[in-house]
Each structure stands twice: as structure tokens, then as C-alpha cells.
């Protein structure tokens, strides 16, 4: 056995340290053939299993790439992205939600070639996804999926209070909600500082009453009678029909509350239904039937200015600092191939829909009519954050500060009157848009 003296050790470690200092980066082992992808902890855990147990070995075989899958809480992804970009070290691909690609555009590798190929092969990428992922005419990230937000509700409890179908307008929903809360089956909705269910509820509500953050020229016009009306409506609706603990909920509280029979309805991805389906023996109605048999989905009701929706976009950005950007792009190209994407898509059972219209035609949608409303939900998404301007980095900043959600929360918690809450939010939004 070779003897390592102190002198040899110092020589080698000194040389190694000098190399690290000269390169300005920590050593990354087997970097050339590894693609490190950072994603959220999927609300459908089976999908993460596909990435680790199916994709990893298959992509190793197909492209010789070692796939390193890391998953964290979605609320923590922006922090990881920021620290990775600033240090020039981190995952080769980072999953970014919504319009975050606009925030990190300068740190992205152009993936237009992959987007064009995937769009062409799949019948076109959804317009909303294109707006969220294209900056300056280039695709700075690749849309992976869209998680539609629909209201999951208890069919039997709605019927018990006289609602044979789901209410079509906010006004009707308010009336039904009052009866539900009186029957100890309140509606559950988060208005907390959280990434998904809160803004996907508050932005469409604002739009459906005719409120908007800015006009087409980017001038802040949030403080309008339409916005005040929407806030006044929700403050009353909240008191009359909601579980008021929702002010402190994150994106998982409503799932737990619904599955335990505490609430009758909640805006959500299909994760409540998918969990009830997968845990049919565990989650039951008060009559002992599997809970999933009593769940239906409906879009958000219409307000005086129509019905709107916001569905959460999940995108993959290949990072400019990556030493293996080529491998990362190849991985995305491989993952978006129909035969590969399908493996991930089918375990989602409709919780996430594909980035292109091709996936609306998949046979999976025929299996379960309860999931049918999710199939074409992205088509209903006509507006994005920052409407009627662009979903740019200012819109991302406002979204990230939860300004619209907090506006509603201030009024619902009674801390501010509706007009005060709107005035406050408009003031803060003004600072974001003018950079003051």
C-alpha cells in the first residue's frame, strides 16, 4: 500500500485548493455527464418517483446522462434559484413557477429550439405558457406542465343545501356558501402568503369584477370601483361562508381540511381528488363511502365581468452557469418526447396537463369523468398577472409580494375597510411599477 506522507498530502491538497481558487468554483464530481434538476415536491408524489425511478435509468441508457433529481418545497425554489445564480453554481435545470422566468431571464440558456420542436410536434404550446416563458422573443425556459386550479367540492353537501349543480356566479356561490357554513360545512380557501391556491383565487376574482392591476401602458389602475366592489364582496363572502382560519393556510392546509371532512369546497389542483382516489380506504364520507365518489370539480364562478381563471405554470430553465447546459437541453428534449413524457403525465391522473394541446387528446381523460374539467382548463386562461400589461418582472415582483392577495386578506381579516385595502395595495403596486 502506497504510503502517504504529510508532505505528499499537503502537496496534493494545496494543489487542489489552488485549482478550486483559480476556477472560482467548488469541485463538481462527474460533472460532464450529470444533469442536476431542481423541482418542487410534487403534490402527486408518484410523479417524483417516475423522475427518480424511471427517467433516471432510462436517460442514462438513452443519452448516457446521470440524472440527479432534487425536490424541495415550491415556496423555497426562488431562494435556491437566486443563490445559485449569484454564486454561479447549482442545479443545471431549475423548475420555475408562473412568470419567474422573467425574473431570471438573464441567467437562462436559450431553449427556443426545443420549444419550437415540442410545440410543432404537439399541436402548439398554450398561449399563456408562451407569454410566461418567452422574454424578448426568446424562450428562456421550457414549459413543462400546467396545473389547473378548479374548485373541488362535495357533491352531496351541495345538494343538501339545494345546489344540484355548482353555482355559476359569485353571487350564487355566496348564497350556497352561507347555507353550507350554517350546516357546519364551510368553504375553505387560503388567503395566506403562499405560491399557489391564494393568487390563483384572488387574481381571477379581481378580473371577474372588472378590476385590473395596470392598463395596457403599464399605469397602475388597481384603485377602481370594480376592485373595491370585489374586495367588499369577498370580505362579506368570507365571513358568511368561509373557514376564517384560511387566512393562515398554505397550499396544503385545504387538502388536509377537505380530506378530513372539515370543508365542503376549495379552489385547488386535482391533488385533493387524486389523494382521495389513491387513499380510497382511508378517506371516507360520513356515510362510509369512499370520499372520491363524492367529489366533483368546477371552474371559478363568473362575476359582473365574466369568469376568469389562473392556472399555475411549471417551467424548466436551463441555467447559464451550468457546465453541462448541452446535456440539460438534451435531457429536456428527451423528456418531452411523447413516449417519455407520457410516463410522467399519466401518473398525474390529470393534476397536471401537458404543455401542448396534443395532451388534451390522451386516452387517460376517458377513464375518469371527474377529471374531465381539467383537460382543457388552460384554454380558459385569458389573463395573466400584470394584466392588462405584460407578465414581466414587475408583475412577478407584485405577485411575489402577494399584494393582490394581501389586499383581500386585509379586508377579510377586518384590519382594513375594503376601500382602504384597495388604496393600500394600489399604492404599493405603484411603487413596484414606478420603481419608486
Amino acid at each position: 500500500m502506497a504510503r502517504i506522507t504529510r508532505r505528499t498530502f499537503l502537496q496534493y491538497s494545496g494543489a487542489g485548493m489552488a485549482g478550486i481558487l483559480a476556477a472560482h468554483r467548488a469541485p463538481v464530481f462527474a460533472q460532464a455527464n450529470t444533469v442536476h434538476i431542481l423541482r418542487w415536491n410534487d403534490f402527486v408524489p408518484a410523479a417524483d418517483k417516475v423522475l427518480r425511478e424511471v427517467y433516471a435509468p432510462e436517460v442514462q441508457k438513452a443519452l448516457g446522462l446521470k440524472l440527479n433529481v432534487e425536490t424541495i418545497n415550491a415556496n423555497d425554489i426562488p431562494a435556491r434559484a437566486t443563490s445559485s445564480i449569484q454564486s454561479g453554481n447549482g442545479p443545471d435545470i431549475i423548475m420555475l413557477l408562473n412568470n419567474y422566468p422573467h425574473l431570471y431571464a438573464s441567467a437562462a440558456v436559450d431553449v427556443s429550439a426545443v420549444a419550437d420542436e415540442v410545440g410543432k410536434a404537439g399541436g402548439g404550446i398554450y398561449d399563456a405558457s408562451a407569454q410566461l416563458n418567452k422574454v424578448g422573443g426568446k424562450w428562456v425556459s421550457m414549459p413543462w406542465s400546467v396545473v389547473p386550479a378548479l374548485i373541488a367540492y362535495r357533491k352531496s353537501w351541495f345538494e343538501e343545501v339545494g345546489a344540484k349543480t355548482f353555482p355559476k356566479t359569485w353571487k350564487e356561490y355566496h348564497e350556497v356558501g352561507k347555507k353550507l357554513k350554517a350546516a357546519k360545512h364551510a368553504i375553505g380557501q387560503t388567503l395566506g402568503n403562499t405560491f399557489g391556491d391564494a393568487p390563483t383565487f384572488t387574481y381571477p376574482l379581481l378580473w371577474s369584477f372588472g378590476g385590473q392591476e395596470v392598463d395596457a401602458k403599464g399605469k397602475v389602475v388597481l384603485n377602481s370601483k370594480e376592485t373595491v366592489e370585489s374586495v367588499r364582496f369577498l370580505a362579506q363572502f368570507w365571513k358568511d361562508a368561509h373557514d376564517e382560519g384560511g387566512l393562515a393556510w398554505d397550499d396544503s392546509n385545504n387538502n388536509r381540511a377537505f380530506l378530513s371532512g372539515d370543508i365542503s369546497a376549495s379552489l385547488n389542483g386535482a391533488s385533493i381528488y387524486v389523494a382521495a382516489l389513491n387513499g380510497a380506504d382511508k378517506f371516507k364520507t360520513e356515510k362510509g363511502a369512499p370520499l372520491h365518489t363524492d367529489i366533483l370539480h368546477a371552474p371559478l364562478p363568473a362575476g359582473p365581468k365574466g369568469a376568469h381563471a389562473y392556472h399555475t405554470a411549471f417551467n424548466h430553465m436551463v441555467m447559464k452557469y451550468s457546465k453541462n447546459a448541452k446535456g440539460a437541453i438534451e435531457f429536456l428534449r428527451w423528456a418531452h418526447k411523447r413516449e417519455n413524457y407520457e410516463k410522467w403525465f399519466t401518473v398525474q391522473k390529470g393534476f397536471a396537463v401537458g404543455p401542448t394541446r396534443e395532451w388534451e387528446k390522451h386516452a387517460m381523460w376517458q377513464k375518469d369523468p371527474v377529471m374531465a374539467p381539467f383537460r382543457t382548463a388552460p384554454l380558459a386562461q385569458k389573463r395573466l398577472m400584470g394584466y392588462a400589461g405584460q407578465p414581466d418582472k414587475r408583475a412577478a415582483e407584485a405577485w411575489n409580494k402577494f399584494l393582490v392577495t394581501v389586499m383581500y386578506a386585509q379586508a377579510c381579516s377586518g384590519k382594513m375597510k375594503p376601500d382602504e385595502a384597495v388604496k393600500w395595495a394600489a399604492g404599493e403596486l405603484g411603487k413596484v411599477y414606478t420603481g419608486a
Binding site: 415556496n75 426562488p78 431562494a79 434559484a81 437566486t82 443563490s83 445564480i85 449569484q86 425574473l103 431570471y104 431571464a105 438573464s106 441567467a107 388567503l191 395566506g192 402568503n193 403562499t194 373557514d243 376564517e244 382560519g245 384560511g246 387566512l247 393562515a248 393556510w249 398554505d250 392546509n253 388536509r256 381540511a257 378530513s260 372539515d262 412577478a396 415582483e397 411575489n400 409580494k401 402577494f402 394581501v406 386578506a409 386585509q410 381579516s413 384590519k415 393600500w424 399604492g427 404599493e428 411603487k431 419608486a436
Partner: protein
């Protein structure tokens, strides 16, 4: 030949050793050598990040964009930001009340633990548990206990017939802030208790006996004997606690995330949301630097007070 070489080498070693000894005897050099590791660590991990934060706060740096020098614009924007104003007030409120409670309860606990009773050592050691458990873990446990839907405390109070409706532990801004103060107190109290206990044990029992013989009751003995002698230790503990509490992040981040409606944001959590979450690094740095003058003033007053006490 070999013998000659060995002798030369031994001579060389002796010469080196004696040179090292001579250098070691030079007090200035020795002091510099001994201080160097500490200074390097402080420079790398304290001074460098601090200077970088100062620089960032004067620029429009965003994630992935170096930005440009903007002077005090980020500080002006922060002063005009109503969420920051609320976060600043919250930080002062949170620090003030948590420190008061930690001091009062820590002192009470230290006085009890200073007495002789069975299993004293085990109880003293177990009391440190809240301080030892990682904050994130304990904050998660408290979050479950305060959960808006499944709070075990609401369950107990409801089944005991004390409440008819859930208490809004985390869903009301005021309640949530007091809950945060409670958790911080629970976590920080052992530090106060153990440190004050150490201080109590340095106080000679003779002083208490003499005071008792002079007719002082328990309160008088505490106020006129224990408290003055414990004051220097108390001051140090309070300063450490104020610094830690004022810059607290983990507890609020896990417990409330700054909600509901931003009502529990502290300076640190809001600076994180802006700087790291939104990628506005310059603005985030400026927000966090608002902590510096406050903490600097606290430390300065403490050092001045201690100096005065030493002089007396």
C-alpha cells in the same frame, strides 16, 4: 558519509528550532500569529459579507444583473414601504416582549433551580431541550399545535368545554404575533435560566445569611443582594437575546411565513422575501441593514454600562 549527513541535518533542525524559539519569544510576532486565524475567520465570514451587503444596498443589483450605483435610493424606497414599516414595528414589538418574558421567566426558573431538590441535575439538563432542538423543528411542532384546523390546543380547550369556537392562533394578525412571542420565549428562556443560574451560583450564601440576620425578607434579599450582583450577567444575556431576537428569521418563516396579511413579518423575513425571493438583492440588503444601527446602539450602551460598572 551517512553519519556526517545525519549530523548536518540534526544541526539544521536545531538551528530552525532555535530560530522559531527566538521568533516565538518576540511578543508582537507571537500575538500576531495567534490572532491571525481569528482575524482571517472574522474577515472572511463577517467583514466580507457585511461590506458586500453595504455595497449591494447602494446599487440596483438584481439576481443575474449587477445593476448600478443608486446611492441611498434603496433606503429611501424602504422607508416609504408600508410593509417594511409594519415589519420594523413588528420586530421591535416581538423583541421587546419576548425579551421581557424570557428575562422574567428565566430569572424565576434560575431562582428555583438554584435551590436543592431531588433530581436537580436531570431537571437542569432537560430544561435546555427547547434551546437544543433546531428552531425549524420546534417551530414546525408549534405550527401544528396552532394549526387553524387541527390545533391540538383548540381540540383540548373545546373538549374541556372552555371554548365553543376555534381560537384564531395563526389566522388573526394579533394572535399570530403573540403566538410568535410565546414560541420565542419558550425557546429562549432556557438560555436566560442557565446563564442566570451560573451567575447566582457565584453569589456567596454568606451575603444572604447576613441580610437575613439583619431582618431582610425574601423579596428584600432578592432586590438588595441578588439583583445588583446579578446585574452584569443579566445585562450580557439581555444584549445577546436582543441581538438574536431582533434578527430572528427561522421561527417566523416557519410559523407564519410573515402572514396573515403581512402582519407578522419581521425585518429579516421581509428582507429575505424581497432580496432572495424576488431577486431584488440591492433592496433586500438595504432592508436588512436597517437592523444594524439598532443593534449597534444596543451593544454600545451595554459596553458603556459595563465599563462604568468596572470603573465603579
Amino acid at each position: 558519509m551517512e553519519g556526517v549527513t545525519a549530523a548536518t541535518a540534526a544541526g539544521g533542525r536545531r538551528e530552525r528550532v532555535s530560530r522559531l524559539t527566538r521568533l516565538g519569544e518576540n511578543e508582537k510576532l507571537l500575538a500576531a500569529a495567534l490572532l491571525a486565524p481569528g482575524v482571517i475567520i472574522l474577515a472572511l465570514f463577517i467583514a466580507y459579507p457585511f461590506v458586500m451587503a453595504l455595497w449591494f444596498s447602494l446599487t440596483s443589483i438584481r439576481v443575474g444583473d449587477a445593476g448600478e450605483f443608486v446611492g441611498l435610493a434603496n433606503f429611501a424606497k424602504a422607508l416609504d414601504d408600508t410593509i417594511f414599516q409594519m415589519a420594523f414595528k413588528n420586530t421591535v414589538f416581538y423583541t421587546f416582549w419576548a425579551t421581557i418574558f424570557k428575562l422574567a421567566l428565566g430569572m424565576w426558573l434560575a431562582l428555583i433551580l438554584n435551590r436543592h431538590f431531588r433530581f436537580k441535575r436531570i431537571i437542569r439538563a432537560s430544561m435546555l431541550l427547547p434551546f437544543i432542538i433546531p428552531t425549524v423543528l420546534s417551530a414546525f411542532a408549534w405550527r401544528w399545535m396552532f394549526d387553524p384546523t387541527f390545533s391540538v390546543m383548540n381540540w383540548v380547550l373545546f373538549h374541556a368545554g372552555i371554548i365553543t369556537d376555534r381560537l384564531p392562533f395563526l389566522s388573526s394578525g394579533d394572535w399570530a404575533m403573540w403566538c410568535a412571542v410565546l414560541v420565542n420565549t419558550w425557546r429562549g428562556m432556557p438560555f436566560f435560566a442557565i446563564t442566570l443560574l451560573a451567575g447566582l451560583q457565584t453569589i456567596s450564601p454568606d451575603l444572604h445569611e447576613a441580610a437575613a440576620l439583619d431582618g431582610a425578607n425574601a423579596w428584600h434579599r432578592f432586590w438588595h443582594v441578588t439583583w445588583p450582583l446579578l446585574l452584569p450577567v443579566t445585562l450580557v444575556v439581555v444584549v445577546f437575546s436582543v441581538i438574536q431576537t431582533f434578527s430572528d428569521f427561522q421561527l417566523i418563516y416557519v410559523l407564519t411565513g410573515g402572514g396573515p396579511a403581512n402582519s407578522t413579518h419581521l425585518i429579516a423575513t421581509y428582507a429575505y422575501q424581497i432580496g432572495v425571493g424576488s431577486g431584488l438583492l440591492g433592496e433586500g440588503a438595504a432592508l436588512s441593514l436597517f437592523m444594524f444601527p439598532v443593534l449597534f446602539a444596543v451593544v454600545w450602551f451595554q459596553l458603556r454600562y459595563l465599563k462604568r460598572m468596572e470603573a465603579a
